[in-house]
Amino acid sequence: MLLQSGFDVALGLGLLWVAWQALNSSDLFKAIVFFIAFGLLMALAWVRMDAPDIALAEAAIGAGVTGALLLGALARLRASNAGETTMGQAGNGQRRFMASRRLLWIPLLLMAAGLGYAVLSLPGYTPGLSAQVAANLGASGVSNPVTAVLLNFRGYDTLLELVVLLLALLGMWSMAGPAPPPSAEAAAVLDGLSRFLTPLVLLVAAYLLWVGTRAPGGAFQAGSLLGAAGVLLILAGWRANVASTALSLRLVLTAGPGVFVAVAAFSLLMSGQMLKYPPAYAGILILIIEIAATLSIGLTLAGLFLGGRPRGERKSP
């Protein structure tokens, strides 16, 4: 018990310290490395809170995609000489202004204290919805409660959330123009690594998707892994030979939200309530939606890392 408390206290303090470093390091690259470490500690925190589903999602998205996104953006910022901290560029007046803003910690400390008090003074334990989830789990078509909530009980949220992901890609395409050209040919080691690692990642993604119906895992974790595999391939200089207008690419990108909307519309037509699955078919419907969602999430995340519309003409090994 003591050891557990010690672990929790150390982890909590570590989280705060790493977050502070990630936010206030003088060097932006250092800040990003600390942020990647922060994601790692967050995953451990999720484990300690009995939330392995979130730990998986945090690990897959945090370790794979977010870190790569940040590093990629930093590289492009350095290319336009904007990757430094602003202190060097700011004039004296700017600095004084910044200094006055640093006094901000006083009201923020008060706010934090107030919020902390609010958390501590929560009226006694409320059971939340765990009882309802348990009672209806049998009719949901899956036996992992988190997947049941995500794809059945609160499937409407998940539908909208897949649209958010698609929206991010659409927004990026609308402003970014074509993706930057791939960097130099990958060295043999990287090439070998990506050839060796990609199938493994795909295999684990498939496993997580399959296991997600009854144990921690599911479409998001699997999709994030696919996305990470895509990031790896992009980094190794691999480019799909498709124009940005290629219909097949856009079909996969919209597969997740598309299938979800189709199921919603069909159930609306059949039962008058959107996303109400007949219990007998709930399992298979969820599986279909999850497969489509996994593909879309993976391709979207990889597309977001690409940093622009895919180029059509480039051919790579």
């Binding site: 977050a19 936010l23 925190a45 940040l70 953006a73 000489n81 919020l115 958390v119």
Partner: protein, 102 residues
Amino acid sequence: MNAAVLYALVGVGLYSLGLYALIVHAHLVRKILAINVMGSGVFLVLVALARRGGEAGTDAVPQAMVITGIVVAVSATALALILVVKLAAETGYATLSGNRQE
């Protein structure tokens, strides 16, 4: 004080640290990191408080909400990063005030 409350307080701390950094720093990538740290703090509060009843209280609903939140956060981060990259390519600065034309 049990572990759940501890983590919830850490979440509040992360939220506040992020808010501070968001206001104080001018570099947009730092602001984006700040938003992400704030988000992690909120997620931590959301999940941790569900366990203040002890080991028995694993509530799947906040966990599912956090997974939704993580995906939303990644989308927002990606969109914000590409905006910064474009802005820097256009103006040479990755800040909101830095400005070459005006």
